[in-house]
């Protein structure tokens, strides 16, 4: 992404948002929650866009990262930011168990990873000596104070999660524009076409799986220190998979910004409006929204917006829109 676009975005994210909403804990907590979904959505989309894999198992990576980080800080006193990194590494290691399923494609991989995700919920419940079992973990340490600034507030949590997302988005962008990214994109259509020119496609897919699991684990770890509580049904809740999937597809999972914008839009609209009108079962609106989006713009929200912007710019440049502008 160009600096000309990136800089204003960073100014808004780090300056304007905390300045405008910092005093309003309700809005900040919704923002942090939506960004948590956005982070998972980004990691999910990385696996889907570059690895060509549809995952229904990201709740597992989220939960594993959350538990590892919580336990490391509570039982061993590991500094929180290091524990969060370790949570990500732990999730990446946990994803090794799903490697044999990489040879499966499409819906078969999705089913395999769905089953895989359940294993961890069971493990977290049964190993109650370490995890606290179904009772969960209480009093997980809050985000620390660094250089006199306490990150344990809502604004602090916001700054941490936004920084995580900016770093992950940067990594994603670098991969996407590398030769590895080209090969990964091409694997979407035909893996043989890449293997025949020397691409170790299975290894590249595995790397994307590790990276996606790592990112999701870090987000899970962040969340555990943000809400200071964990239980298996919460940490491995299928909502941690479904909401990001809906958000990523709604926003456009093959773009970098799509999953992020999708998550913020979907989550805030859901919490601020739909939840008020339909207190239980408001998620049905999300399903409907997704359905409408797929009907009108199968590529999602962001491709739709960029298409409209480009079209308008070209209409301004030349009085009559040429045929070509329509097909871009």
């Amino acid at each position: 992404m160009k600096l000309r676009i990136l800089l204003p975005i960073l100014v808004v994210l780090y300056g304007l948002v905390p300045f405008l909403f910092g005093g309003n804990n309700y809005i900040m907590s919704i923002l942090v929650a939506s960004l948590t979904i956005a982070g998972i959505a980004l990691a999910w989309a990385l696996l889907g866009n570059l690895g060509g894999m549809v995952s229904f198992g990201h709740a597992a990576f989220f939960g594993v990262g959350a538990y590892i980080s919580a336990l490391l800080t509570m039982k061993l006193g590991v500094p929180i930011f290091w524990a969060m990194l370790a949570g990500g590494v732990g999730s990446a290691i946990a994803s090794i168990a799903i490697l044999p399923a990489l040879r499966l494609s499409g819906p078969y991989f999705a089913l395999a990873i769905l089953a895989y995700a359940h294993i961890f919920r069971v493990l977290a419940t049964e190993f109650s000596g370490i995890t606290g079992g179904a009772g969960g973990l209480l009093g997980i340490p809050v985000l620390p104070t660094v250089l006199g600034y306490s990150f344990s507030s809502k604004v602090g949590g916001y700054l941490v999660i936004i920084t995580i997302i900016v770093i992950f988005a940067f990594i994603y962008d670098r991969i996407r524009n590398s030769y590895y990214g080209f090969a990964l994109k091409a694997m979407h259509e035909s893996e043989d076409a890449t293997r025949v020119v020397g691409v170790h496609s299975t290894m590249l897919k595995a790397m994307m799986l590790f990276l996606s699991a790592f990112m999701t684990g870090v987000i899970g770890a962040f969340n555990s220190h943000y809400i200071n509580f964990l239980e298996p049904d919460y940490a491995f809740n299928s909502g941690w998979t479904m909401l990001p999937v809906v958000a990523a597809i709604f926003g456009g999972y093959r773009t970098l910004t799509g999953p992020l914008v999708g998550a913020v839009v979907i989550y805030t609209v859901d919490q601020l409006f739909f939840k008020n009108y339909i207190p239980s079962g408001h998620q049905i609106i999300l399903g409907a929204l997704l359905g409408v989006m797929i009907l009108f713009s199968p590529d999602g929200l962001m491709p739709l917006i960029t298409k409209k912007l480009r079209w308008r710019r070209q209409v301004k440049a030349s009085p009559s829109p040429s045929q070509e502008t329509e097909t871009i």
Binding site: F182, H188, V196, H200
Partner: protein
Amino acid sequence: MMNLNAITVQFGGLTALKGVSLSIGAEEVVGLVGPNGAGKTTLFNVISGLVRPTGGAASFNGANVLTTPMYKRARMGIGRTFQIPQPMHELTVRQNLLVAQRFGTGSVNLAKIDEILAFLHLTDKADRDAAQDLSLSELKALEVGKALATAPKLLLLDEVLAGLETTSKRAFMKTLIELHRVYRISILIIEHDIETISTLCPRVCVLNYGQLIADGTPQEVFSNAEVIKSYTGGGHD
């Protein structure tokens, strides 16, 4: 250079290749012909690593490659094209070649890419979408280009001329002859058209029902009674 010894491939109850032995020397151009279903593409799949043989031995430049995965063989110098072109989607023509070069040779050499583009008359299309904006003959040229970008020592061409009309076919044949002269690599080419094969290849091998039934100069092979029988369908019982 490439040595196949008694290669057998079975798909369930079907024997696609039955004890095929074949050697291809350095800088040799060999034609591979045979009726539909004779096992030509299966043999390509065995050499390039897409299919693992049930029996036999395969070595490339002295190294045993029988169980070597496809991506490693590409890096060793075995390049191939697919009968149905398989451009890398969502990439431009140039990016296709760059990916092939980066992963096939381990490094990027932009001048070399430009050279291949020019050689295959793809320079004008270099920045177009490979999967969407190319004609059939351009797609076939791109198939060859991708393989060339991996700097192969042995190039397997699977019906690169099939489906082209006469003019582009002639032009493409010239390019292939030029390719062999410039790049000095071994080429194994599957082709149905006997005239094309006779023009391009000093040596021709014939497969029929998974067995190698003839190996020699075009004159020898195409006057061989068994070969004629296999082509005219003289009652295989």
